[in-house]
C-alpha cells in the first residue's frame, strides 16, 4: 500500500509544480493566441538563474525565487517588444516558426555559456532532507517546498488575473483585443504583461525545480512537451484548467509506481519485466494525443 500512497503523493506534489510550468504557456496563449515553443527554454533560464544565484552568491536556492521571477518577467517583456509584436502582424505560421527560432536561440546560447554538462544543486537548507509522513511514505523536503511555493505563486497569478483591474484588462484583451482597445485598454502593454507574467511563472517554476532536478541546455524540450500536454488537457487559456490538468499529468508520470503495486501484489514475473519507468513520459504524450483528437479545446477550455 505504501507504493500506491507514495506514488499518489509524489504525483500530486510534482503536478503542482507542473501546473505552474503550464500556467505561463496558457496565459500567453489565452491573451494573444500564440503558442510559445520556447516555453521550456524559459524554464531552463529559471533553472540556471536559481542555480547560479545559489552557487555564485551563496543564497539558499529557495530564496532565489524573486530573482528568477524578475529575470523571467524581463525576458518575457524583452521578447515581446523585441520581436513577438512584429510576428503578430504575420500569419500564424510565422508566429509558430518565430517562437521555434527563439527556442533554438536560447538553447544554443545556454550551450555556449554553460556547455552541455548536467549541473545540479548539492547544497541548501532543504536539499537532501526528507520527511516520513507515515505508512512508509517518504516525502522529499525540496519537492514539498516546491509544491507549496508553486501553489502560492499560482494563487498569486490567479488573484492578479481575477481580482485586480490590471487582471481584468488582461482578460478583456484576451476575449477581444479590438473591444479592449475601444475601451481604452493599452492592449500592447497588456500583451507585454502577459509575456512578462508567463515568463515569470515558468522561471519561478524552474528555480523551484532545480532544487531536485539537474539542468542542462536541452532540458526545455521535456517541459515544453509536458506543458503542452497540461494546457491541452486543461483547456487552452484556462487558468484553473491548467492547475487541475497539472495534477492529473503529475499523477500520470507516476504510472510506473502504480504498476509496481500490482507487480508486488500479484508477484507477476511478466509485469516486472515491463520497463514501465522507461515509459513514464510516454503516457503523458499519449494523454496529450488523445485529448487533442477527442476534445481539441481541452477539458476546461473557455475560449472560442
Amino acid at each position: 500500500m505504501d507504493i500506491i500512497v507514495g506514488s499518489l503523493v509524489a504525483g500530486l506534489l510534482f503536478g503542482m509544480v507542473l501546473a505552474l510550468v503550464a500556467l505561463g504557456l496558457t496565459i500567453i496563449f489565452g491573451v494573444m493566441d500564440i503558442v510559445n515553443f520556447a516555453h521550456g527554454e524559459f524554464l531552463m533560464v529559471g533553472m540556471y538563474t536559481g542555480l547560479l544565484t545559489a552557487q555564485g552568491l551563496g543564497i539558499d536556492p529557495l530564496l532565489t525565487l524573486p530573482v528568477a521571477g524578475g529575470v523571467g518577467f524581463l525576458l518575457g517583456v524583452v521578447c515581446y517588444f523585441g520581436f513577438i509584436k512584429f510576428l503578430l502582424r504575420g500569419p500564424m505560421v510565422a508566429q509558430l516558426l518565430g517562437t521555434f527560432g527563439l527556442m533554438l536561440f536560447l538553447r544554443n546560447l545556454a550551450l555556449l555559456i554553460f556547455g552541455s554538462e548536467d549541473r545540479a544543486l548539492h547544497h541548501g537548507v532543504l536539499v537532501g532532507e526528507s520527511f516520513d509522513i507515515g505508512m512508509g511514505v517518504i516525502v522529499s523536503a525540496t519537492k514539498l517546498a516546491a509544491a507549496g511555493l508553486s501553489v502560492a505563486a499560482f494563487v498569486a497569478v490567479w488573484l492578479l488575473m481575477n481580482r485586480t483591474r490590471i487582471g481584468k484588462a488582461l482578460t478583456a484583451t484576451a476575449l477581444s483585443a479590438q473591444g479592449a482597445r475601444y475601451m481604452g485598454i493599452p492592449t500592447e502593454r497588456m500583451n507585454a504583461l502577459a509575456w512578462g507574467i508567463g515568463g515569470a511563472s515558468v522561471t519561478i517554476a524552474g528555480a523551484l525545480i532545480v532544487n531536485f532536478w539537474s539542468v542542462n541546455p536541452f532540458i526545455g524540450l521535456l517541459f515544453t512537451m509536458i506543458a503542452f500536454a497540461i494546457v491541452a488537457l486543461g483547456g487552452f487559456g484556462s487558468v484553473p484548467g491548467a492547475f487541475l490538468a497539472g495534477l492529473v499529468v503529475g499523477l500520470i508520470t507516476e504510472i510506473p509506481g502504480f504498476w509496481d503495486f500490482f507487480v508486488y501484489t500479484f508477484d507477476a514475473d511478466w509485469m516486472s519485466n515491463v520497463p514501465m519507468t522507461s515509459f513514464k513520459y510516454m503516457w503523458v504524450y499519449l494523454a496529450y494525443f488523445i485529448i487533442m483528437v477527442v476534445r481539441p479545446r481541452g477539458l476546461f477550455g473557455w475560449k472560442h
Partner: protein, 437 residues
C-alpha cells in the same frame, strides 16, 4: 674554401645515403599521432577529464626519458624503434554520443591522418568507433569500456586492455558468496537469507544493459533472488520513481551501473527516500569518479564499487606510487580507475609501437597480437597485458583482473577507498551492513 666545400659535399652525400638506406617509415615518423576520443563534455565529462589526464601523463612519460621510473616507455625520449618519434595525442569529444563518436573517428582517420585510436569510455561509443576503425583497417586500443560484447565480434583491429563486466560481475557474486562464508575481513559469516534479495538499476546504453543481463545471469547461477531489475536513461534528470520502485522490492543488496551524473542523482534520491539496503555496489564508472566522492561526501561511506585501481594499490606496488605522485602533482588528486586505465591504454599503445618499429597498420597489428607487458610495469594490479588471438574474445587482455573497493573514513575523517576483494589483498575490515541514510 675548397676544403670546406669538399667537407660539405661529403656530409651531404652521407646524409643522402642514410636517406636512401633508412626505411621510409622511420624518417616519416617524427611524430606518431594517436586520436583519443573521450567524453569531454556532457554527463560523463568528469570521467572524461580523468581519462584525458591519464592519457596525457602516459604520453608525457613516453616522450621524456625518466631514468628513475622502472617502465620501458620511460627509458627513452619517444619511441626508440621509430627514431625517437614523439607521441602526439589529438583529443576529440564524443559527448557520450555513438554517432558523433563514429564521425569523429572518420575525421581523425581522413583529416588528421592518425596512426591509431584510443578510446572511448562509453561502450556504446566504443562500439561505433571500433566499427569505423575495422572498416578502414586502423588499429584501435580500448582501455576503459567494459561491455563484454566489444571483444566478441571477431574484430582484427581492436584490442582491449581493461577487464570486462563478465569478470567484474562474477567478482561481485564471488564477494557476496564470500560474505556468507565468512571470508570477508572483519565480518562474521552472514546467513545467506540476510542478503538474498537483490535489486538492480542500470543505465540503458550498451554498457548498462549488458551489466543488467550479467547480474540476472549470475544471480541465478549463485542462487540469489533478483527481485527487481530495471534499466533507466543515464540522462534522466529525476530518478524518484525509479528509486521508489527499487525500494518497493525491499532488497538487501542494491546493484548499480551508472555514469557520473546519474550515479550522483541516484544516491541523492536514495538518501531523500531513506533507502536502507545492507549493501550498495556500483559497477565502477560513476561510482568511482572524484566528482562522485566530492559531491556526496560522507553519504557514500560503506558503498562498494568494482575497480581496477584504488589508491591503496600504491602501498603494494612501488611503480603505482611513483606514477600516482606524478599524477597528483599534475591534477591535484590520486589516480582513479578511469585515469589509471587510460594511462595503461596509452602505455600499451607505446609498447606496441616500440615492438612494431613501424606505423604501418599491419605491423602494428602483428605487434599487438604478440605483445607481452609484464605486470611489474603497470600502475594497475594486473598480471600484465597480453591479448587473446584466438577463441571467442579476440583482442581481450587475458592478464587483466578486477578489485572491489569500499568507501571508508580514515583516521583524519577523509573519505578513502579500501580494498575488500580479492580476499587475499584486503586493506581494511569491511563495513557491514550499511548504516543507512
Amino acid at each position: 674554401m675548397k676544403s670546406m666545400i669538399r667537407v660539405g659535399m661529403v656530409v651531404l652525400s652521407v646524409l643522402a645515403l642514410i636517406g636512401f638506406m633508412a626505411p621510409a617509415d622511420v624518417l616519416a615518423a617524427e611524430e606518431i599521432k594517436i586520436g583519443v576520443i573521450y567524453p569531454l563534455t556532457g554527463g560523463a565529462a568528469a570521467a572524461g577529464r580523468e581519462l584525458r589526464a591519464g592519457a596525457e601523463l602516459a604520453a608525457e612519460i613516453a616522450n621524456t626519458a625518466m631514468a628513475d621510473l622502472p617502465m620501458t616507455m620511460a627509458r627513452n625520449e619517444g619511441v626508440k624503434s621509430l627514431g625517437g618519434a614523439k607521441i602526439t595525442l589529438i583529443f576529440k569529444d564524443h559527448e557520450g554520443n555513438p554517432t558523433l563518436g563514429a564521425d569523429l573517428a572518420k575525421k581523425l582517420i581522413h583529416d588528421d591522418k592518425v596512426d591509431g585510436i584510443l578510446g572511448c569510455y562509453h561502450s556504446s561509443v566504443t562500439k561505433t568507433v571500433s566499427a569505423v576503425c575495422e572498416q578502414y583497417g586502423v588499429p584501435m586500443i580500448n582501455g576503459s569500456s567494459t561491455s563484454p560484447d566489444l571483444t566478441m565480434r571477431g574484430f582484427k583491429w581492436f584490442w582491449r586492455t581493461t577487464p570486462h563486466d563478465t569478470l567484474f560481475t562474477k567478482d561481485l557474486f564471488e564477494f557476496l558468496k564470500g560474505l556468507t562464508e565468512g571470508k570477508v575481513r572483519g565480518v562474521s559469516a552472514v546467513p545467506k537469507k540476510d542478503i538474498m534479495t537483490l535489486a538492480s538499476a542500470c543505465e540503458k546504453t550498451e554498457w548498462g544493459s549488458h551489466v543488467s543481463d550479467l547480474i540476472d545471469r549470475f544471480a541465478k547461477e549463485y542462487g540469489f533472488n533478483l527481485k527487481r531489475s530495471m534499466l533507466y536513461a543515464a540522462k534522466s534528470a529525476d530518478l524518484s520513481s525509479e528509486v521508489r520502485s527499487l525500494k518497493a522490492a525491499k532488497p538487501d543488496v542494491m546493484l548499480f551501473a551508472s555514469y557520473t551524473s546519474d550515479a550522483i542523482l541516484m544516491v541523492k534520491t536514495l538518501k531523500s527516500q531513506k533507502a536502507n539496503p545492507k549493501v550498495i555496489w556500483g559497477q565502477d564508472a560513476g561510482f568511482e569518479t572524484p566528482e562522485f566522492r566530492e559531491t556526496l561526501g560522507k553519504d557514500i561511506v560503506g558503498f562498494l564499487t568494482r575497480s581496477v585501481f584504488i589508491p591503496r594499490v600504491v602501498e603494494i606496488k612501488k611503480i603505482s606510487g611513483q606514477v600516482n605522485d606524478m599524477y597528483k602533482k599534475k591534477v591535484g588528486h590520486d589516480l582513479s580507475g578511469a585515469s589509471a586505465r587510460s594511462f595503461t591504454g596509452l602505455q600499451a599503445w607505446v609498447a606496441i609501437l616500440e615492438k612494431a618499429g613501424s606505423t604501418k597498420p599491419a605491423d602494428i597489428q602483428a605487434a599487438a597480437n604478440d605483445i607481452e607487458i609484464p605486470g611489474s610495469e603497470l600502475v594497475v594490479p594486473w598480471k600484465g597485458v597480453k591479448f587473446s588471438t584466438s577463441g571467442d574474445e579476440l583482442g581481450q587482455n587475458i592478464w587483466s583482473s578486477g578489485i572491489i573497493g569500499q568507501y571508508q573514513l580514515d583516521k583524519d575523517g577523509q573519505i578513502v577507498m579500501e580494498i575488500v576483494y580479492p580476499f587475499d589483498v584486503t586493506s581494511a575490515d569491511m563495513i557491514y551492513p550499511l548504516k543507512g541514510f
